[in-house]
Symmetry: C2
């Protein structure tokens, strides 16, 4: 083990996995997180249960956090941000702002700053997220599920009919997000199951273009959602959500039946996609690494090297690179850790 | 760096990535491959171009192979198989058969034995793979694309109309494969683009249930396939393929139009899914690790640990764990390498 140090930026699933992996192979690591806590989006956004195994997000993330904070090779800097990056020998000199102020030498850097949920106010369809209290987004329902208190925000009563609208902010050229956000079909279906578990009398519909339950999500989530939980999947495009009395009127087209559709709902859940987080956009600039047209960090040598960026010594992983599920995030984190450690050690004096 | 040794089984994308990662972080690795060459399925099955970036499979895999074979820490055993595994201290004693015969000590093992294509002879629909020469599978067309010689096997003439039939051997309870094979939508679409590039006058259709172009495959493959290459996507179920004169008659239902469909084609391509390879099934038994009901190796602690099996010290990655694309495979390979190295070193004497 040498004196090399890898700096990991971001304390969510990808950053925690990257930090753990760097330490696992014997290098020192500093984990820089701007929030005052570790755990990233699953904790910040009050996720209830992880996809697909439904384990409590707090418990699962807690295990990852313990693995990192209990490791002597890991130095955690909460409430801290990288403000600037300058070359420093074969590595980098990072200026930190916030609680962890002061310069820091990094022999290699892993950017794991993740995504943010698409803001449904930017949606060009008329879904009324900021107008109608009973129009919510995936993460809003997630927080209600965590509290076991799924209600209509307008009146505090449990809903009798809920629908999910897929592809909000994804697969949409007008908005500029042509990509698919990959996880929303699975997350919506998981939440639909949880709604049926918590409110067995509530009818649940999912309006979708393609149901993208790749790999085991098909058998682990999609089939039980239909067969065991009677979630109703309708291939259709929703064009408009309106308030009508104390209900929501959902308009669109049932594309399987080939006819216009108009249904009333108590709660409409917008399945918002992923966009690069502010941290991802900022770190891309700070480190001078290329971004794709969507603002995510560009994986310069994909598909066989998933984590190298346009700049040697700077690696990225997880949803900072684009839509990613948890398995993608922790796997690519390990890949970034390996590359970062190898880069860092390649410039260390022998025996250091 | 200690005296620990990790044994990686399988020389495809996942195994090569795992071996490279173990060596990258300074541990010795033996790579055991039963075939007389490295590269795995992309080489064995004559893949033309990788998804999604269309780089030559030979060139891309060649780079991975060079990275491994040029590394002094990597010992490659071709034409070799693990015949038995016994506990050996904190690690394992492996008996090798074949060219690399003799026992081998492993402090940890990474199983990267991948998938095999579903055998369309097992399909319960009547697709006629073994009856009609012009019914082929994805990998057959891939080999023709690599040779720039896409023809109807029946007469050697270029086809004027080709269709792909999706979900052959996937999402199918009768066959026992309820899972989605994840990559076939992307591979079929990539091949459809290549057909249009090589045979600009050929009409290309894809019959699908859901078009699962997750993440960037949506914008990188699906949109260009439609807009630039005019591949025609038809949501429909194909129930039967018959020979009619020198054409193939394809019968099913157009589910968007809600009516029966009968079309003639020159070439029908079955988009076969993934099943565990023979190597994956054998190694699961040899190492005594749990398999899921499909025969893939079970990831015991998914989703936040993607690579641990039911047995400490034995890790798995890539398509040995289930349907995986190239990015999944090389990322999970790094994750397996990190865990294997950490496991191996945890039992090494200090300073060894």
């Amino acid at each position: 083990m040498g004196s090399e140090r890898v700096v990991v930026i971001g304390g969510g699933p990808a950053g925690l996995a990257a930090a753990a992996a760097v330490a696992d192979v014997g290098s020192a690591v500093t984990l820089v997180e701007w929030a005052p806590f570790l755990g990233g989006t699953p904790i910040a956004e009050n996720y209830a249960a992880l996809t697909p195994n439904m384990e409590s997000a707090e418990v699962a993330m807690g295990r990852m956090i313990d693995r990192v904070t209990s490791n002597e090779l890991v130095d955690v800097r909460l409430g801290s941000q990288v403000a600037a990056c300058e070359p420093d020998g074969h590595g980098f000199r990072l200026e930190l702002s916030g609680d962890g102020a002061g310069p820091l030498h990094a022999d290699a850097v892993v950017v794991a700053t993740g995504f943010q949920h698409f803001d449904p106010g930017r949606e060009t369809q008329m879904y009324g997220y900021y107008e109608f209290p009973d129009v919510v987004a995936l993460q809003d329902l997630e927080a209600m599920l965590k509290d076991h208190h799924v209600v209509r925000p307008s009146n505090g009563q449990p809903p009798e009919r809920i629908c999910f609208v897929q592809c909000v902010g994804s697969r949409d050229r007008q908005i500029g997000n042509e990509y698919c956000s990959k996880v929303c079909c699975g997350i919506a279906s998981k939440e639909a199951i949880e709604v049926r578990q918590q409110l067995p009398d509530c009818k649940v519909f999912i309006f979708y273009i393609d149901m993208r339950m790749y790999g085991y999500w098909e058998n682990q989530i999609y089939w039980p959602a239909q067969e065991q939980y009677h979630v109703q999947y309708v291939k259709g495009i929703i064009t408009e959500v309106l308030q009508k009395g104390d209900k929501l009127l959902v308009r669109g087209e049932d594309t399987t039946m080939g006819r216009p559709m108009e249904v009333t709902m108590d709660l409409v859940v917008l399945s918002v996609g992923m966009e690069p987080s502010l941290g991802t956009r900022l770190m891309a600039k700070t480190f001078g690494v290329a971004q794709n047209k969507y603002g995510f960090i560009d994986a310069a040598h994909a598909p066989l090297d998933t984590v190298s960026t346009s700049r040697p010594g700077i690696f990225a992983c997880g949803a900072a690179l684009g839509p990613a599920d948890l398995e993608d995030s922790v796997s690519s984190a390990a890949a970034a850790a390996v590359r970062a450690v190898a880069h860092a050690r390649s410039h260390q004096p022998v025996g250091a």
